[in-house]
Subunit: 226 residues, 2 copies
């Protein structure tokens, strides 16, 4: 599959690298590739400079958002939630029309410290705002409920005996995403219905943050028991 | 232990009945006991008239909120979220001073249908609003993340292999509540810290509602895996 990942932070790098390892044809997008390549310091989250990562992932082409996505089947939104809509608008509605957007971002507001609050919640969600901004695309929400290392390697925790959720308005797009999740190793995938369920998935993240604090590890998830 | 349960709907009846069965001295509070006793129709949620339930639980004294709580160690708030603060104010700050309030309610807004939204979320919670309304009490949030039948009988699902959460500002009150949870059969109890974690517990409820829809049963919960 041809896949474009938006976002070159820790999450974008992790998902792009894992999808390339699975044999997909992956490109990664950023606002300004020259600025990104020139950085020599760790980013704000403590990740090494992008160039260090890219030296180990030379098969992944880096493009500006506006040059991303030619012939691409599926886009992964791995940008910070605050920048997601601008990034997708920079890719362009035409390029995204009819394509699947796997939205793994979260509407986190760190302006008042940790734990962050959400800049959209309850009666709306970031995924729905993305869908409204790019109505021709097929948005699927998933993977936003776990840390990046677990997104791409669920077997690293409890032999994969924990749950991933998907939701979206287009059944075909959900099947595409579910197929990718299975390739990554996810065994327990619960379809929560249409994209309005993204409100629930995004509002779960504050509980995940508390579990991270309580357990002392980001390698934490939940398993649905019924 | 002497326990007062606020709320005579399905949740209040279930928790009051279970605590009485465990041997606690339980009373249950409502706005107007005479009106409640006179009802002959099922309530808005389809529960049988209170008098039918009370005939099987005659040991549980029914009182108006204002007469509730003399000599009581622990209060359980099982009212609808929209009426919780008024109910506790009717009990009175003096009666609640120094006492533990186990808040099991949720800030559900059904005004726009199902699934409900939340009338407080993200940067505040119902539990914190209750704590602010009754600053002398020791509020602990728990049990709001599962259906009433599971609150009082966790062993009815997967041999109890699923998780309950607690949070609150007072460690002694959390220990009291944790003791009650263990009496009810809860084996896996995660302390999420201070009462601001109630935001996370209340914002999880929309995901629970989606899981209820997806699995077709209210007997659904999550197990924390780390």
């Amino acid at each position: 599959m041809r896949i474009a990942v938006l976002g070159t932070g820790g999450v974008g790098r992790t998902i792009a690298g894992a999808l390339a390892t699975l044999g997909h044809d992956v490109e990664i997008g950023t606002r300004d590739p020259e600025v990104l390549a020139a950085r020599t310091e760790p980013d704000g989250m403590g990740n090494p400079p992008f160039s260090v990562w890219h030296a180990d992932h030379a098969g992944i082409v880096v493009r500006a958002f506006g040059g991303l996505g030619e012939g691409v089947d599926l886009f992964v939104n791995a940008t910070m939630g605050t920048g997601s809509i601008a990034a997708l608008e920079a890719v362009g509605a035409e390029r995204l029309a009819g394509r699947t957007i796997l939205d793994i971002s979260n509407p986190l507001d760190f302006s008042k410290g940790f734990p962050p609050s959400l800049f959209v919640s309850n009666t709306d969600s970031l995924a729905e705002q993305i869908q409204a901004a790019v109505p021709g695309a097929r948005v699927v929400k998933s993977l936003n409920t776990v840390t990046a290392a677990l997104m791409v390697d669920p077997l690293a925790l409890a032999d994969g005996e924990h749950t991933m959720f998907v939701c979206g308005n287009d059944d075909g797009a959900k099947e595409e995403v579910t197929g990718l999740l299975r390739e990554l190793g996810w065994r327990h995938i619960v379809d929560l219905g249409d994209l309005s369920a993204a409100r629930a998935l995004e509002m779960y993240v504050p509980l995940w943050l508390r579990l991270f604090q309580a357990t002392g590890t980001p390698m934490v998830n939940v398993s649905v028991v019924s």
